[in-house]
């Protein structure tokens, strides 16, 4: 479904290059320049960089600003608000004084966004959760791209029976709705983890959701790569390399791969956006990241019980997801416009 222009044919005449820039500028340089000139994309990149930076600064925030341990429950803890000491979990109001409500946003250094049901600092958890979500999102997108490149290259280059088998496997995974596939694999692996021969992934490891999400999206990337490989393989420079006696490996990695890698680069921001959304959905359904680890999805899930009393527990991680995914989508549009405006790419969520 995607027409992926190879970089041999400049997709459109590049207007008014800065002086002296046109001579010998590689297609990559041209694309990069085009991307940098796109203010919206640069703003999106900046926003994404800020989100990554604050998420990875989570331990600093927890230790030096909020002075809490965001993974230890604090059911009887107290904190200081406007000079007064108050309970983190407050006794329910009303005649019966039933139940406990965690403290709401203090808008101060400690419990900035309030506490969750276990008295843990929500602001610090959102930052830690962001770290988890970003690691899983980026990690699974990279795993997915790597597998897809290998499959796409092998299928497109060798053709014949290898292509037939690989393409059928991709077709089947493709036909399988992503959420159902993820749910199936996650429920089976959830309590016992995965062990194939010497490799063992424990059930609480972050590698588990990362691997599951990475695998389910492989066809969405491998198919366009295979298409690009098929068209590049017929190009004259490949014939020239064959005439020089190049080995299969050199043809694949030296000649063809550099010319199809644009497909992966165009897809990558959109892939990360999609994998972050998928991770949050799986975690919300309690089959993604497992406690005590937190991700944006698990925090939204935690916040569901407190939605009407302490809505910030659910609002904050959701806002972070929207900002992250939005910045990646805008960036993805910019990268696509810069590298290949004709590509029609759509990763289903």
């Amino acid at each position: 479904m995607s027409t992926v222009g190879s970089l041999e044919q400049p997709v459109e005449p590049v207007p008014e290059l800065p002086q002296g820039g046109s001579a010998g500028a590689s297609p990559w340089r041209l694309a990069f320049r085009k991307l940098v000139r796109n203010r919206l994309s640069m703003a999106a990149l900046g926003l994404f960089a800020v989100i990554v930076a604050v998420s990875f600064a989570a331990p600093l925030y927890a230790h030096h600003v909020a002075h809490t341990d965001p993974f230890a429950s604090s059911l009887t803890g107290k904190t200081e608000v406007n000079g007064k000491r108050v309970d983190v979990l407050q006794q329910g109001s009303g005649a019966l004084a039933l139940g406990e409500t965690p403290i709401g946003p203090t808008w101060q250094r400690n419990y900035f966004l309030g506490a969750d049901e276990q008295g843990r600092d929500v602001a610090a958890r959102v930052l830690y959760g962001g770290r988890t979500s970003l690691i899983i999102g980026v990690g699974s997108a990279l795993i997915c791209s790597l597998i897809a490149v290998v499959i796409g290259l092998a299928a497109g280059f060798y053709g014949g029976i290898i292509d037939g088998i690989l393409s059928r496997i991709l077709d089947i995974i493709w036909a399988f709705p992503v959420y159902l596939l993820a749910i199936s694999i996650a429920t089976v692996l959830l309590t016992q983890g995965l062990s194939i021969g010497p490799f063992t992934i424990s059930a609480s490891s972050l590698w588990l959701p990362t691997a599951i999400i990475g695998v389910i999206y492989v066809p969405y990337v491998a198919r366009p790569i295979r298409g690009a490989v098929l068209s590049v393989r017929e190009k004259e420079f490949v014939d020239a390399a064959i005439a020089q006696g190049a080995s299969d490996r050199r043809l694949m990695f030296g000649e063809i791969l550099p010319n199809v890698i644009a497909v992966v680069i165009v897809l990558l921001p959109l892939m990360i956006a999609t994998t972050i959304l998928t991770e949050s959905a799986l975690s919300y359904l309690s089959i993604g990241v497992q406690p005590p680890a937190a991700s944006w999805g698990t925090i939204i899930d935690d916040g569901q019980q407190l939605l009407y009393s302490r809505p910030w527990v659910a609002i904050a991680p959701g806002v972070m997801i929207v900002l992250t995914v939005l910045s990646l989508n805008v960036l993805g549009d910019g990268v696509r416009d810069a590298l290949d405006p004709r590509a029609k790419l759509r990763v289903k969520g």
Partner: protein
Amino acid sequence: MLAFVVRRTLATLVVLLAITILVFLIFFHTPGVDPARKMAGRNPSPATISAIKHAYGLDRPLPVQYVILMKKLFISRDLTSYTNQGELVVPTIVAATPVTLSLVFGAAIIWVVVAVVMGLAAAVLRGTVFDPILMMIALIGISMPVFWLGEMANLITQSRYHDSFLFSWVPPLGYTPFASDPAMWFKHLVIPWLVLSALYIGLYARVLRAELLENEHEDYVRTARAKGLSERRVLLRHTLRTSMITFVSLFGLDFGVLVGGGALLAEVVFGLPGVGLLTYQSLTSLDLPVIMATVIYGAFFIVVVNAMVDVAYAWLDPRVRPA
């Protein structure tokens, strides 16, 4: 055309077979996972486990196990939940289907109408400030997790502004069948429809705008203009019609995915007792037979709908038939 239908049907059967095998392998033969223990739910007794081993033929060869599972799913339909005391799985799924259909149909109507209007508006207003604004709104819609948007909608309509004149009509979360009270059915579903359609409005408005702009330079559009047709007629009768081809085929796929299980998150957040909520409840109790059955039925539905879309597409557009 007949040859195409036959070929497509055969391909569909192969895919269905492959999907059942894949599900079978995932649930019964993931390395290091004991399926009997998984099927039995949390903290099973050894007696339950050995009963399951016998019922599913887990001590017999692989092909036999596969056939037993398929028989339980499609022929005798007596797949039983071990968590919920012998509840029959397949009838439960069938009973939940109308809820999911109600949710998805309503949302689909909203998203198609709004997306067409938005896409057209953005294409017509190209070059003005409104095009980027509309497309940014579309992009925000795509970037929101549906379950979070649903929680926010609940926060506003059920709690914070429930007592204002705007949302006092919103009933508590839940579902009323259409047959028993159509007005209540509608009230229960309005907010879920809007929330579920937000993502798809964004996707489809963007797709339609891109198609409209691409088709604008086609020869037949120039011919239409040369004939002296009004701009509106050119847009609605010529450009829009061709642009809807992609739109319609995407719609078929997304509709199938939603009915087949994609509406899960929306059902969970709004407490709508459809197939998705059923799946979710069995996820939280790790009720494997139910999960397996909802997954297979969902995948089947999607694959069959896809095949129907392809056939309809070939019927509309003869150019794709030989493919």
